[in-house]
Chain length 139, copies 3
């Protein structure tokens, strides 16, 4: 059994900025030593999350709009009393979406649909340098 | 260490149609070669998701109603500008719920509560033939 | 390859009660035999979920408020017709948040941000004794 840990670094703009991690993820899986197993993506930090989406400009905007309706930025958050950094909405959205995503690997490939990309959504209220761990486990 | 990959095929009706994957999942885990480890369910495609629920008709309806309130079908989605296929709401709901679910295996069984079933929710706006990968890893 | 399964027991108050599982999780991972791999937390039952959050009192309150807006307790749920136990809102919230969370382990530590804790949220409408499985897999 092999375990490989990669660091995927992403410079984001925050405010629901969405980045496609699929090309770098697939490249790591293809060149790595695991033929069958699973890949776990995990974003370090509590104001970003991971999921899959058909990565096209319309849906990128739809997801931003959706999270803004769900947990509006201009609403009052008690988090403000602790840090006064104005990103309560970012934390709530990130906890809902969660920082982890596991994708099966079959024959040296992440098994995804044609229109299904692995994405990082950064909910913070400022640009961030993000580190996503990609951990590959299998045989 | 062993890895087994099963394909669970489901014919859905779309529109929040919910299918219980537990019986087929448990059967595969019981007859397979992994005694302790984990099972990762992953639905291929970007308009469906996986979770657990007490699978009874009331909650099945409640979940449909809930997702309709959360991301209404009749709202405008920018996804429409790209494909004109009317399923922006399906993509947004699926990205929120996510395509992946990992359940521990102890002693040849998925460890679930009595009232906790693994379900596929198909959010698309038409019937679909879905393929859910069930990947079992362990010893 | 090693697999270790721990049971983390938590007495909750229900109603969105949030518990930090990080100290017990880290302690198990540090003293266990897996140096690199992953930890899957899984809560048994269909009225609780797992995620990460910056565990501070403001955000704990914000998450409670958020889930109350998302799936209000005093709304009608069809689940009531089945069991008459008043916790339809608990089930819907738990299915949305999901019972599973996977965190990479690097060098005998759960890889988390400084302000990122693994938490159990109990959505039920009464105090519960919860069992969270922590399954560690790796080398």
């Amino acid at each position: 059994m092999k375990i490989e840990t990669y660091k995927v670094r992403v410079q984001t703009e925050g405010y629901g900025d969405i980045h496609d991690l699929t090309p770098e993820g697939q490249a790591n899986v293809k060149s790595g030593g695991v033929k069958n197993g699973q890949a776990t993506f995990f974003v370090i930090g509590s104001t970003a999350g991971l999921t899959t989406v058909e990565y096209e400009p319309g849906l990128v905007q739809d997801l931003k709009d959706f999270f803004e309706r769900l947990a509006p930025q201009d609403q009052y958050y008690h988090h403000e009393e602790t840090w006064h950094d104005g990103n309560g909405f970012s934390h709530v959205r990130a906890s809902l979406l969660k920082p982890s995503l596991t994708v099966p690997i079959v024959d040296h490939e992440l098994v995804l649909g044609t229109w299904q990309q692995v994405v990082l959504i950064d909910f913070d209220n400022r640009p961030r340098k993000r580190e996503v761990l990609l951990q590959v486990m299998g045989i």
